[in-house]
């Protein structure tokens, strides 16, 4: 089920870059996209470095953590610094997943600049980057805390007992993390000592939740590699939904209050000398000073005040008091988590009403078109929706690009589905009875019982930008023509409101019958522009990449298309040169929806200079 969706999406939409877990090509975007994405990346990186450095210094040098630092050392600083980086990334990682919000931003007037809108195309890359950062810094955090656990037991502090996490010196770190609470809690509760019971629970809650979080993260990360996403999308999807468990555990994890800071710095400056203690050890004051400061004591024991003024030796007024930090993580993650939950709720409410299927049309080469209506459904050309059919599968949602958007005059919208994989096969069997699957047009049957279909969306995609360039080059491979079909439908309706003045449409297919999916649309569009005296508005080129040598035509009535049909693959360099020559000095938007190799070729050509001063801006789809 997941495989077919990915096969379809592989043909239709290429993945951002082959990101796999082990080789780190995380720097690729900064090289390939030197624009606002670079700037955003730089800002994100600076925030991480700043947070890490600031927190590290705080725990390394801050007076309120002096005694804790003495006990734990470098492990304390590393664990807290990595925790602050984790706070930032756990909050940011949710933002690219608010797809409705991103679609709204893409279409609204509040984001006027095209460059800023291109940032939204990189939402999935940003999500993956934050994910990898979480993974790396979780490793650092866990390793540092393991060392902390050891140090808590080895450097048990008898002077400041409440600072300790261990019950006694050299307690087994495993016991420290897992079993401290069970016996102490029950003991304390038995004695009615709630404060100590909660303290005991506080020791083990971070430990247990930490281990559970690592296991959840492990399951999520191992199922998110590129190889798994491409071959078994289901595993990726179901395990990734464990993120909610992760966030709940995170909320509990930080409530432990294991690491404490000193509250009374004014009355007990760290490193101060406690007179009570030294007198109990039977050391006289001058000897104590000479022992501890290794400097010749100024003559006369009678001027301790002067001495203290020069050497800043403080006397402790009272015992240090410690208090647990307020869990900052709650502040970091609450905003994005609430935003994400609100969006999911909104999407659930919006998709709760089923659509009404108007017609189902069977096309050659295993493609099925569904036309439907829904109240208050608005979509822009290039957007996609997800279909959910409980009769086929209770849990699965599959994305399909809209090939026809609702307009002011017509509320019908449609999708074209390629039948690849078991979900689409079962869906087709429910909608089209097997007997009529071969014929093109379905005979009208009066009491047609279509299954209930729910849609979620629409969600944005970079293809919406093609109407905002003066000149656009749209290249489609096979079923990848679907986003451009909605653009063409919109142009057929009314082309004047958009900035677009010239569209180059290249469609490469393996099978001649595939062209019949939109042959009517293309012919109508061509005729319309000829009649309106704008013959150069749409330039159509159709390529049949595989042929068995027999002369083929699309259909007898499609004269315009047959004369624009070429056999063999397109020669991209020549095409780019031609477009550059006829659109000198302009910015041409390049959009590609097809196999990876095709997109790489086009991206490379878009970045090359030409002698006509034409700029090609490549827009990449990121499946999110």
């Amino acid at each position: 089920m997941g495989e077919e969706m990915w096969r379809k999406r592989e043909e239709v939409i290429f993945s951002e870059y082959s990101f796999s877990f082990y080789p780190l090509n995380i720097f690729a975007p900064f090289v390939l996209f030197p624009d606002y994405f670079c700037l955003l990346g730089f800002i994100w990186l600076s925030m991480n470095v700043l947070l890490f450095w600031k927190t590290f210094l705080l725990y390394n040098q801050g007076p309120e953590y002096h005694y804790l630092h003495q006990m734990l050392g470098l492990g304390l600083c590393l664990s807290r610094a990595s925790a602050s980086v984790l706070n930032l990334n756990c909050s940011l990682i949710l933002l690219p997943m608010c797809r409705t919000l991103l679609a709204y931003l893409r279409g609204s007037q509040k984001v006027p600049s095209r460059r800023t809108r291109r940032l939204l195309d990189k939402s999935r890359t940003f999500h993956i980057t934050c994910g990898v950062t979480i993974c790396i810094f979780s490793g650092v955090h866990v390793a540092a805390h393991l060392v902390n656990a050891l140090n808590f037991s080895v450097n048990y502090n008898e002077d400041f007992v409440e600072l300790n996490a261990a019950r006694y010196r050299d307690e087994d770190p495993r016991k420290l993390l897992f079993t401290t609470a069970i016996s102490e809690c029950s003991q304390a509760q038995h004695l009615g000592n709630i404060a100590s019971a909660s303290q005991a629970a506080g020791i083990t809650v971070p430990g247990l939740t930490g281990v559970c979080m690592v296991v959840v993260l492990f399951l999520m990360i191992t199922a998110s590699t590129y190889a798994i996403r491409v071959s078994n999308y289901d595993i990726f999807w179901y395990t990734h939904n464990l993120f909610f468990v992760f966030y709940m555990l995170l909320t509990l994890h930080v409530s432990g209050g294991l690491l404490k800071y000193q509250t009374n710095l004014d009355t007990h400056p760290p490193g101060c000398i406690s007179l009570n203690r030294t007198s109990s050890q039977n050391i006289s004051l001058p000897e104590y000073f000479s022992e501890h400061f290794h400097e010749p004591f100024p003559e006369g024991f009678s001027k301790p005040a002067e001495f203290t003024q020069h050497k800043f030796v403080k006397i402790c007024m009272e015992e240090p008091r410690f208090q647990a930090n307020f869990p900052q993580t709650w502040l970091w993650i609450s905003g994005p988590l609430c935003l994400y939950c609100a969006e999911r709720l909104y999407r659930y409410i919006r998709s709760n009403k089923p659509v009404t299927i108007i017609s189902v049309i069977s096309h050659p080469s295993d493609v099925m078109e569904i036309r439907m209506v829904k109240e208050n459904f608005k979509a822009r050309p290039g957007q996609y929706i997800t279909l959910h059919c409980p009769s086929v599968s209770a849990l699965e949602n599959h994305p399909f690009t809209l090939t026809m958007c609702p307009t002011e005059t017509k509320a019908t919208f449609g999708v074209h589905l390629k039948i690849v994989g078991d979900w689409t096969e079962r869906f087709r069997d429910l909608l089209l009875p097997p007997s009529s699957q071969d014929s093109e047009i379905l005979p009208f049957i009066q009491s047609r019982n279509y299954p209930k279909l729910y849609i979620d969306g629409p969600f944005g995609s970079p293809f919406e930008e093609s109407l905002n360039y003066e000149v656009s080059l749209c290249v489609a491979g096979g079923i990848g023509v679907t986003p451009f079909a909605s653009i063409l439908n919109t142009l057929l309706d009314d082309w004047k409101p958009y900035k677009l003045r010239r569209l180059y449409f290249i469609w490469v297919c393996r099978d001649i019958q595939s062209f019949r999916w939109f042959a009517d649309l293309l012919c109508m569009l061509h005729n319309k522009f000829w009649q309106e005296n704008r013959p150069d508005y749409v330039n159509i080129q159709l390529y049949l990449s595989q042929t068995d040598g027999i002369q083929k035509i699309i259909g007898e009535k499609y004269h315009a298309l047959n004369s624009r049909l070429f056999i063999g693959r397109p020669r991209w360099k020549l095409l780019f040169d031609e477009i550059a020559k006829y659109n000198r000095g302009k910015t041409v938007g390049v959009f590609c929806c097809g196999p990876n190799s095709l997109s790489k070729t086009l991206h490379k050509l878009s970045n090359q200079n030409n002698s006509y001063g034409t700029r090609f801006e490549y827009n990449k789809e990121s499946f999110s």
């Binding site: 050891l150 296991v215 199922a223 078994n232 595993i235």
Partner: protein, 210 residues
């Protein structure tokens, strides 16, 4: 869900667990935990698991994305024959390797992750059509013992259903639904012999058709 190739996920998990074991082992030995020798074991076990799991197994259908440079490790892994080809053996091996690391706090996460990977490898061996309604192997073996004819027919059924492909030029496919572990096959043969008959050429008895 029936078409999911679990073994591919188990492979990724085992590789990640190997890395976690190595990291935990380094923390344990460098941090000078007591019983640091468990940390040293963890490093060695982690390296072994990583090398074993680095080659990605061939998928049942569809193309396999090979990891960079995996062909060198594939040659080494194939040398061990059925011990590495068979996913039951891998599952048991991972489970056994993970146990000693559980004694030390620094490496306990590696234990948990490797145990999960072992469990997923076991899950990948359950045929999709029979998940949930498959009687356990022990029950079927018990049926074998009851009588000569029954033993022969059950044995024949299993040999037919679970005949292992002996000609593998590559690593095993990610979904090995009907591969019997060699030890189980030996057991079936032994039981069949014990119940008093020579295993003849396998044929499918109609009564045992499921």
């Amino acid at each position: 869900m029936g078409q999911i190739e679990w073994a591919m996920w188990a492979n990724e998990q085992a590789l990640a667990s190997g890395l976690i074991l190595i990291t935990g082992g380094i923390v344990a030995t460098a941090g000078r935990f007591t019983q640091w020798y468990f940390g040293a074991y963890s490093i060695v076990a982690g390296v072994f698991v990583c090398l074993l799991e680095y080659p990605r197994g061939k998928r049942k259908k569809g193309s396999t994305m090979e990891r960079w440079g995996q062909k060198y490790m594939t040659a080494v892994v194939k040398l061990f024959g059925p011990f590495t080809r068979n996913y039951y053996v891998r599952a048991v091996l991972h489970l056994l390797l993970s146990v000693p690391a559980g004694f030390l706090l620094a490496t306990i996460l590696g234990t948990a992750c490797l145990a999960i990977a072992s469990g997923i490898y076991l899950l990948s061996q359950v045929p999709p059509a029979r998940r949930g309604d498959c009687p356990p192997l022990a029950v079927r073996l018990l049926v074998c013992v009851r009588g000569k004819g029954a033993a022969l027919s059950v044995h024949a059924f299993h040999v037919w259903k679970w005949s292992s492909a002996s000609s593998l030029t590559d690593l095993p496919p990610a979904e090995l639904s009907f591969r019997t572990p060699s030890c189980c096959q030996v057991l079936i043969w032994a039981v069949a012999l014990f119940s008093g008959g020579h295993p003849r050429a396998p044929r499918l008895p109609a009564a045992m058709h499921s």
